[in-house]
């Protein structure tokens, strides 16, 4: 299991994956938007997206868990 955390505070602009979906190491899961900057958050490892903790429009702080990944 791996927790994917936000590397900056901002709002969730786009969610690009669904729970249960197979994801690859470099795949973008969500795009955060903050102060005119868009920062994609990627999976970091191959696996299955076990849990998605945010939805579009949510505000996240730096370090908040965005998704939980189960290694395959």
């Amino acid at each position: 299991m791996k927790e994917i955390v936000a590397n900056m505070a901002g709002s969730v602009w786009k969610v690009l994956v669904n729970e249960g979906e197979q994801v690859s190491a470099t795949q973008d899961l969500v795009i955060l938007e903050s102060m005119k900057m868009e920062i994609p958050i990627s999976a970091e490892a191959n696996g299955v997206l076990k849990e998605l903790k945010v939805q579009e429009g949510d505000f996240v702080d730096e370090g908040d868990v965005i998704a939980v990944l189960e290694y395959k």
Binding site: N7, M8, A9, G10, S11, S34, M35, K36, M37, F59
Partner: protein, 450 residues
């Protein structure tokens, strides 16, 4: 009194700044604010405040109809647009005037003319102002771009005609890079500005960014209020600005001032405006673009000339003539401004959040422009600049020393800011010597970045 009441169609530090001059002139002010800005200092500082909608700028600060309605409801007879947001939107200027409200800025026609970077280049070239060698017209497709770049030689600067803030703009070093960059930048420009028109300029290597402040009234009087050096930039965003420029000699200063006046006259410009130039080591200067509004960095000019630029904007908009001749204007001392951003000082990622404690430096020759306060929530919806710090000295060395002490005194807790980064930059020997070029930050601090 030039106006009965002025609505400020902006937020943050610049709304506060404009209101201060209105107070000095005894003109009541009206604030308009989004849901995210309910507790912002500018909302409290205004005599009246109206909510205009949601947190995102298109739901509030870009809603022309709502802003104009608020002005009517409040009985405001003028609107100051500040910088960014609607300040360079020709439709907004036009709609204000149609509603019988004075837009404190140039005519809609001038905004439009200078908003198209291609049209601006043509106008300036025709007026005899040196422009950067480049394409005369829009470059329609990638093949034309490639053949044009072959002619002028790499690297070239690819730019969006409607561009601003570095969006749609990229240096390309090879044909491969150009092919890749052309489509993606055109698409980006289309998304941001609704106009994907591109053009190409030659890259002026190791240039300084120097701009001339202008004031022009409705009676044909055009003055230049000297220059600002803005070479300390990251990703085409200015970080530190100063006046006067350590680069210019008196002869170039005079020539650039004259060129800027010529440029303003060529388009019958009125109100405050800024002509941006790139200047090389041999003091050759080239027109870059014109900003038809108040600049973020206007305070350094105010500090060295004693002129309140916002006050002049208001008087000019009220059809008062400028009260000086060019010979009356002088530079006294040296001023430096740093922009304080809510961002991580190492990764430069935005850092919105609640400010726990906010205590700016105080003392003589220290000026603060602040858009926030203790316990204020810096929202992720707007620009990361939360404040500006300006210091003045008899000499550049004095101004730097005062700035260094002031930065060390500055306390902001709860969010990350670029304060530590600013201290590093002003301690750098190249900054101390006053020889920084636009490539300075990239070369000295971000070596791993491209």
């Amino acid at each position: 009194m030039p106006f009965q009441k002025i609505l400020i169609a902006n937020r943050g530090e610049i709304a506060v700044r404009i209101m201060k001059t209105c107070q000095k002139l005894n003109i009541p002010t009206v604030a308009v604010y989004s849901e995210a800005d309910e507790d912002a200092p500018f909302v409290k500082l205004a005599n009246e405040s109206y909510p205009i909608g949601g947190k995102r700028v298109h739901e509030s600060y870009l809603n022309m109809g709502k802003i104009i309605d608020c002005a009517k409801k409040a009985g405001a007879d003028a609107i100051h647009p500040g910088y960014g947001l609607l300040s360079e939107n020709p439709t907004f200027a036009k709609r204000c005037n149609e509603a019988g409200i004075t837009f404190i800025g140039p005519s809609s026609r001038c905004i439009e003319m200078m908003g198209s970077k291609i049209k601006a280049r043509q106008t300036m070239r025709d007026a005899g102002v040196p422009v950067i060698p480049g394409s005369e017209d829009a470059i329609e497709d990638v093949d034309t771009a490639v053949s044009f770049a072959r002619n002028i030689g790499y690297p070239v600067m690819l730019k969006a005609s409607a561009g601003g803030g570095g969006i749609g703009m990229q240096i390309v070093h090879t044909e491969d890079e150009l092919v890749k960059a052309f489509e993606s930048n055109a698409r980006k420009a289309e998304n941001f500005f609704g106009d994907g028109t591109m053009f190409i300029e030659k890259v002026i290597e190791d240039a300084h960014h120097v701009e001339i402040q202008l004031l022009a009234d409705h009676y044909g009087n055009v003055l230049h209020v000297f220059e600002r050096e803005c070479s300390v930039q990251r990703r085409h965003q200015k970080i530190i600005e100063e006046a006067p420029s350590p680069l210019l000699n008196d002869d170039t200063r005079q020539k650039m001032g004259d060129a800027a006046i010529k440029a303003a006259r060529a388009i019958d410009y009125t109100n405050a405006g800024t002509i941006e130039f790139l200047v090389d080591e041999k003091q050759n200067y080239y027109f870059l673009e014109m900003n038809t509004r108040l600049q973020v960095e206007h305070p350094v000019t105010e500090e060295v000339t004693g002129i309140d630029i916002v006050e002049q904007q208001i008087h000019i908009a009220a059809h008062k003539p400028l009260k000086w001749n060019q010979e009356d204007l002088q530079i006294n001392g040296h001023a430096i401004e740093v922009r304080i951003y809510a961002e991580d000082p190492t990764t430069f990622f935005p850092s919105p959040g609640r400010i726990q404690a906010f205590s700016p430096p105080t003392g003589s020759n220290i000026r603060n422009e602040i858009g926030v306060q203790s316990s204020y929530m810096v929202s992720p919806f707007y620009d990361p600049m939360i404040a500006k710090l300006i210091t003045k000295g008899k000499t550049r060395t004095d101004a730097i020393q005062i700035l260094k002490n002031a930065l060390a005194q500055y306390e902001i807790e709860g969010i990350k800011t670029n304060l530590p980064f600013l201290l590093k930059v002003i301690d750098h020997p190249l900054f101390q010597k006053g020889v920084t070029r636009t490539s300075f930050i990239e070369k000295q601090f971000l070596k791993e970045e491209t």
